[in-house]
């Protein structure tokens, strides 16, 4: 949205104005000097003061209490006071052994769950022997086989620790993990975690990093994946609907929520069309959002999202179980707000973003390292990121009160306004025939592009300050910047050599049989493709082989080149 929004306020014009308020208005006008209109990123105008005239506590029934629909104040009765948010730091670098070392460090420092980021080559669906060597392991871990996954998660009890795997269709990393679990004797029914960012629509729209299969193929495989996990890995969240990519690509916070909820509706309706009961899969839908530094806007955004989702699941999708109505989300502090100039400033930014997410009621949080804008984060930066969460929780005591900003005239009024804007954009998607069609036609991409250009124009004009970039610049001593963390080339070469040896030694017939079965499944509507992926993983097939097979059958994803 690139124009200021006229959002109706709650009790405008209800009765004569309070004399004290009128007095304030007069004083404000005479003292303020030049005032300029302020809009937040979603285009909503922000006033200098909010009072009961803007939002009245008597409306509390619309807000509800924590753990009760519509969940504005939180999806659980206890929220962070009962169980703090999960500290889930995304990590990924180098070889599985290097990853494991860093993972142990982060767990020791207080993180309570695992998140694995694979190398970009893995994201693209190719094995290490098909990639430029220089690019292996620079931003994620090179995992191409079940064995690699086992090594990466060495020492982690898969029955006790929640693991988020950042891996889109066809979800080979989960397949590798399940193969590793079986080898260790761990019951799949105990395995918990998330197929992080399994939302193919958001990838198609905004973070093509993850886009491996053509749209229709990705849609099919996701539905198979949800089905499989429902039956065999019941504690696993197969559906992670992503708002982060679109917001990072330039969507306003309201647009990001609108598009994400529309995607969730699309995915849910696809499952319902396959005959699945919404109450069996909706409780396992999770969301993944960006948290920008627009502090109050983010808090209001999440509160509004909870309210809308509760309504949608109940009324539109027909879910009856209250667990289906709960908007569960993981928040990641937004790297887009971080700067390369004066990078230590980013520590302050991340702290503010994290607070917004916490006040917004997230279930799981990743804080960026301060050197995110310089390179893939260093261990030093990663430690500070975890410490930030610990400080907010244990020194600032942010978990002591549930939804502490609830009842604030501003936050509640803004929540209402964000809800209106989000629902307006959802209406546009609806008119276009639903999210899948809206994305196919390019409507969503165009809107995001518009918002991205609008924001950049504001920065270029100086209307939006970015400290150190367009204001408060200093001459920096570049040598003081941290040096890039790179994977050890020797270790990587050894990894590549071991991989070649592995391929040469494995039973070729078994591998081929598994790949053939996988190819056949892709052509048969009744077969579960993900089930075959798991079988292929256990037979020793590599990530690249699995992806190539499915690409051949289901088509390679091509991105729309829309500017």
């Amino acid at each position: 949205m690139n124009k200021p929004v006229d959002a109706p306020l709650g009790l405008q014009g209800a009765g004569p104005e309070d004399p004290a308020l009128a007095h304030w208005r007069g004083e404000y006008a005479s003292q303020i000097g030049t005032d300029r209109p302020v809009h937040n990123r979603s285009g909503i105008p922000i006033r200098p003061l909010y009072t009961a005239a803007d939002w009245n506590p008597a409306r509390e029934s619309a807000t509800g209490l924590p753990g009760q629909a519509p969940y504005t104040r939180g999806i659980y009765a206890t929220m962070h006071r009962g169980r703090t948010w999960t500290q889930r730091q995304l990590i990924g670098l180098g070889t599985p052994a290097e990853y494991n070392a860093r993972l142990q460090g982060v767990l020791g420092a207080g993180a309570t769950a695992v998140s694995l980021i694979p190398c970009n080559s893995v994201f693209r669906g190719v094995d290490m022997d098909e990639s430029h060597f220089e690019l292996l392991g620079t931003c994620g871990t090179v995992v191409n086989t079940a064995e690699h996954m086992d090594r990466a998660l060495q020492g982690v009890d898969l029955a006790q620790t929640s693991c988020a795997l950042n891996d889109p269709s066809p979800f080979t990393l989960l397949a590798f993990m399940l193969a590793a679990a079986r080898k260790r004797g761990t019951d799949w029914r105990q395995v918990s975690g998330t197929s992080n960012q399994s939302d193919y629509i958001s990838h198609y729209v905004a973070n093509h990093m993850f886009f491996r299969l053509a749209l229709p193929g990705a849609r099919r495989v996701l539905a198979d994946h949800i089905d499989f996990c429902n039956r065999f890995v019941p504690k696993w969240n197969p559906m992670s609907v992503v708002g982060q990519h679109m917001q990072q690509a330039g969507a306003t916070p309201a647009e990001a929520v609108a598009f994400t909820l529309s995607t969730a509706i699309q995915n849910a309706e696809d499952c319902i069309a396959r005959g699945m009961d919404p109450d069996t899969f909706l409780p396992r839908f999770t969301f993944f959002f960006d948290i920008s530094i627009s502090f109050f806007e983010e808090i209001a955004k999440f509160r509004a999202a909870r309210r809308i989702w509760a309504k949608v699941t109940r009324e539109r999708l027909g879910a009856k179980d209250p667990r289906s109505w709960r908007f569960k989300f993981h928040g990641q502090t937004s790297g887009v707000d971080l700067t390369r100039q004066q990078p230590l400033n980013n520590v302050a930014r991340v702290a503010v973003q994290a607070m917004a997410g916490i006040f917004g009621g997230l279930q799981s949080l990743h804080t960026d390292a301060y050197d995110e804008a310089l390179s893939c984060p260093s261990e030093f930066g990663a430690r500070i990121a975890v410490a930030t969460q610990n400080i907010l929780r244990e020194e600032a005591h942010l978990t002591d009160v549930i939804d502490p900003l609830g009842g604030s005239h501003y936050v509640e009024a803004l929540t209402d306004q964000m809800q209106a804007e989000i629902e307006r954009v959802m209406g546009l998607v609806q008119e276009a025939g639903g999210m899948y069609k809206a994305v196919e036609s390019g409507l969503v991409q165009r809107m995001i592009g518009e918002s991205a250009r609008h924001f950049q124009a504001q920065v270029d004009r100086g209307e939006q300050t970015v400290v150190g970039v367009n204001a408060y610049q200093v001459d920096e001593d570049r040598s003081a910047r941290p040096v890039n963390a790179r994977p050890d080339p020797a270790a990587m070469r050894a990894h590549v050599a071991a991989f070649a040896a592995f391929k040469a030694a494995r039973p070729a017939a078994e591998v081929q049989r598994a790949l053939d079965a996988l190819a056949r499944a892709a052509g048969a509507a009744r077969d579960n493709v993900f089930g075959r992926v798991v079988e292929a993983a256990e037979a020793g097939c590599t990530h690249g082989e699995i992806c190539a097979t499915l690409r051949r059958e289901l088509g390679f994803g091509h991105v729309q080149a829309l500017v």
Binding site: H132, L135, T138, M209, R340, C376, G449, D460, G468, V563
Partner: protein
Amino acid sequence: MSSSNLIPKVLVTKIGFDGHDRGSRVVAAALRDAGMEVIYTPPWQEIAAVVKLATEEDVDVIGISSLATDHLIVPKLMQALREAGLGDVAVIVGGIVPDEDEQLLLEAGVARVFHPGSSLPSIAAAVRELAAGVRARRTTV
């Protein structure tokens, strides 16, 4: 409207594995709004494909957007361009490039590196200048 002599032809593309293309889209749009003709590609272009494209479209400037260490294979691109006889084409890199790698790129023949925070007008001005230089140095057909 400017005469056809002066309309810079620019390729905006991404090589390597990264898929984040907000920056390259915004820059492509900005260059268009600055009156240039932009060939825009999605991410994950092969180096050979970029060379073929740059050859056929006879571009003046190639803009590489790199966020996730993909800049590490830009020297390979520079080599491929030279081998194809396109050594006179100006190449710029924008995105996240650590300081220690910037020198590496410049030595490989990259004309300029743009870091996060570079304003669009400054990028457009630099591209225009580079394109003019490329045209001036070229011999006529």
